[in-house]
Symmetry: C2
Subunit: 428 residues, 2 copies
């Protein structure tokens, strides 16, 4: 065996070992009482606060290395921790700790004519692998949420946050073990070797039930293309706001501005504004002017270009582009059919909103647009587990299987059927 | 291009075309009213009855070919149709037609402090591929159930039922099209070329959302190993009955006999009987004698061999064998921990039952056994969508993602979030 394949087989043994320990921890965790999981998460939060100095020292090491590699200011900002950010991490864990325990919840119950009593009850999913970029806080967020739902989690963070993630992880597992639950409930892959990611995506021969990628489009795209197990994710958020007649101009302006400009880098940010033909004379110009005056570049169709000389002509490519920046594509559509068709063709099944005073048109839009989240008279930036009241999210999914929209603790569960009888046998 | 690759590319074009038409049909079907889908299914059932002569003629062709190929009597029986079986197929479709429409059902609704009204509503899954063996009735069953939940379905039946399936399919689509819904809602792959199966399992570049295999272990195994999209299935049903002390002997006998012998070839049939050590003196012998007297071969551990001279010694392999025949493995376990551990080690997460008068032990078993269906004082043969009151099933799933247990119309749906506001924007 040469050095390279020797190394590969070492990583494989390491990651499979992590998978086996995760499965064993998942079996224990699945039966842990809600109070015990809550206490363990509160202890993990406490341990993170206690370890503030250690975590900051580890983070300083990561930052120094990143600076040496000429990381961008934005990258360094995402990577950097301070006391406030560490405290926010601990608070995030505490919020998750106090959520109701989804495991054991009876979601349906009915009796059969033969007297059998059937219940559908939530159970954990099992083992969740989370693959993320160099944002140390994901270690705490994702670990806590998966744990809350009784799952074991395998974390594989970005190489640049290696020491920070290790320090956060060490604190969390100390808290969890101290509360009497398995240390292996939350494991962090202790190598920067990229082969570890491929192994997790393979599902480790049934040891991993689902993969959650957290990061940019290239990471998510790789995970979706390579994973042999289900993935909860969205590749991109090409979110639309459609202003349909009649619509209050002030409300439309407020929603469009918020949907596009509140934060331009989040997946729920609007990337396209569609204005109904009937409003082209009244609403198009004020909406476009507002956006440009707010510092947003507008790329428009012919009608939009005519509305303001500062509008740039949109290319075909623009309609399917997730800018994640202060840029928006704006077009005029001819009625709701045209709007729905545009979204079906160019959208990403993430989040789309209609602004209108026409209730019937709104209901039609909500039914017909095939996206995880559809809104009437509200900003697309509400696409967030916290805003849904989930107390956190591990990400937003645009697939149709199992989880869709913000993935909170509830979506990280499975279910089983419990049937209670009194000697029933099946005839025939 | 040589003849072979030419052929391959023809099949690929054919199956991709089917996929594209399925996706287009799914978009129409997703918005079809419940009454219209119901009327379409009732028309499909009527068309099957009208075509009885044609279907029988097509079936005669399939049977003649199968006899020529020296098919077994069991195989021919599964393949054969008569007026009664055709009528039963039509009745099955009518039962599904009259089920409540799962699409549009609001499964959760809540208000946020900012006034947003959030609803989670059921939507169709999309496009479902069903790959099955030579049982013509699956064409009708699976087609109707997927359609009921607003999904387009691509059927790929066994080669030996080719003509029968085509005749059934032609009748169904005539009924559906006559009721004004897309003919492409239910498509049957019109080739025996096995490459078509591989193409469906690839997901056709996002055109197929989920695959459901219907058939024996080799078919399911191939689908699970090859599919690049989620699969709803069970590979095998290694179902256990555990008799725990104290237990009424008569009830235990009744349940064990039914669980094993009612039908030995179904996935919910018991394959292993576990008797608690405390009952080894009182219950083991009568249970074993009953089984042997009923014509069941018993393969036992040491204690069981001592109970009756007709017991064969079980090998290690027996504990993880799905016999699907009048054979059972029987062992003595030391308490509930031991029973749960045995099932975790050798079971298949399908269906397991405890027989006991000890309510606490029963609850512990129901919580701790990680199977899709767990029962107390009832036969494992209740593992069936009809027995659950689902009005039908497309199969039983043992995975933890999305669908688990009997997969009825409800499990063939996804969901989305509808949010109604009055101008809300997200702060911060």
């Amino acid at each position: 065996m040469d050095a390279k394949s020797n190394e590969t087989s070492e990583v494989s043994a390491l990651v499979h070992g992590i998978g086996r320990r995760a499965r064993a921890a998942a079996r224990v965790l699945a039966l842990a009482a809600g109070d015990k999981k809550k206490a363990a998460l509160l202890a993990a939060a406490r341990a993170i606060r206690e370890d503030t100095t250690k975590i900051l020292a580890a983070n300083a090491e990561d930052l120094a290395a990143a600076r040496k590699n000429n990381a961008t200011a934005a990258f360094l900002d995402r990577l950097a921790l301070d006391e406030k950010r560490i405290n926010a991490m601990a608070e995030g864990i505490e919020t998750v700790a106090t959520l109701p325990d989804p495991v054991g919840e009876v979601t349906a119950a009915w009796d059969r004519p033969n007297g059998l009593k059937i219940e559908r009850v939530r159970t954990p999913l099992g083992v969740i692998a989370v693959v993320y970029e160099s944002r140390p806080n994901v270690t705490a967020d994702a670990g806590a949420l998966a744990f809350k739902a009784g799952n074991a989690v395998i974390l594989r963070g970005g190489s640049d946050s290696f020491h920070s993630s290790q320090a956060i992880h060490a604190a969390m597992t100390r808290g969890i073990a101290g509360a009497g639950l398995p240390e292996d409930s939350i494991q962090l892959v202790p190598t920067r070797d990229r082969a570890a990611v491929g192994l997790l995506l393979s599902g480790l021969d049934g040891l991993v039930d689902v993969v959650v990628p957290r990061g940019g489009k290239s990471l998510v795209g790789r995970v979706q293309a390579e994973a042999k197990v289900p993935v909860f994710a969205h590749l991109e958020g090409i979110c639309h706001v459609y202003v349909n007649a009649p619509a209050d101009l002030e409300m439309a302006k407020k929603i469009v501005l918020n949907a596009k400009m509140r934060r331009t880098g989040v997946c729920g940010a609007a990337e396209t504004l569609l204005v109904d033909k009937k409003l082209a004379g009244s609403h198009l110009k004020p909406l476009v002017e507002m956006l440009i005056d707010a510092g947003c570049e507008v790329r428009g169709d012919e009608a939009t270009c005519k509305a303001d000389s500062r509008v740039v002509a949109a290319s075909e490519q623009d309609w399917s582009t997730e800018y994640l920046d202060a840029i928006i594509s704006v077009g005029v559509v001819d009625g709701i059919d045209d709007a729905v068709e545009h979204i079906a063709r160019y959208g990403s099944h993430h989040t789309d909103s209609i602004v209108t005073d026409d209730r019937e048109a709104a209901e039609s839009f909500l039914n017909r647009v095939d996206s995880a989240i559809v809104l009437h008279n509200a900003s697309t930036q509400f696409a967030d587990g916290g805003e849904f009241g989930f107390g956190g999210e591990i990400g937003i999914a645009t697939g149709r299987l199992h989880a869709r929209g913000p993935v909170g603790a509830e979506q990280l569960t499975s279910f089983k059927y419990r049937i209670r009888g009194s000697g029933q046998t099946r005839p025939g």
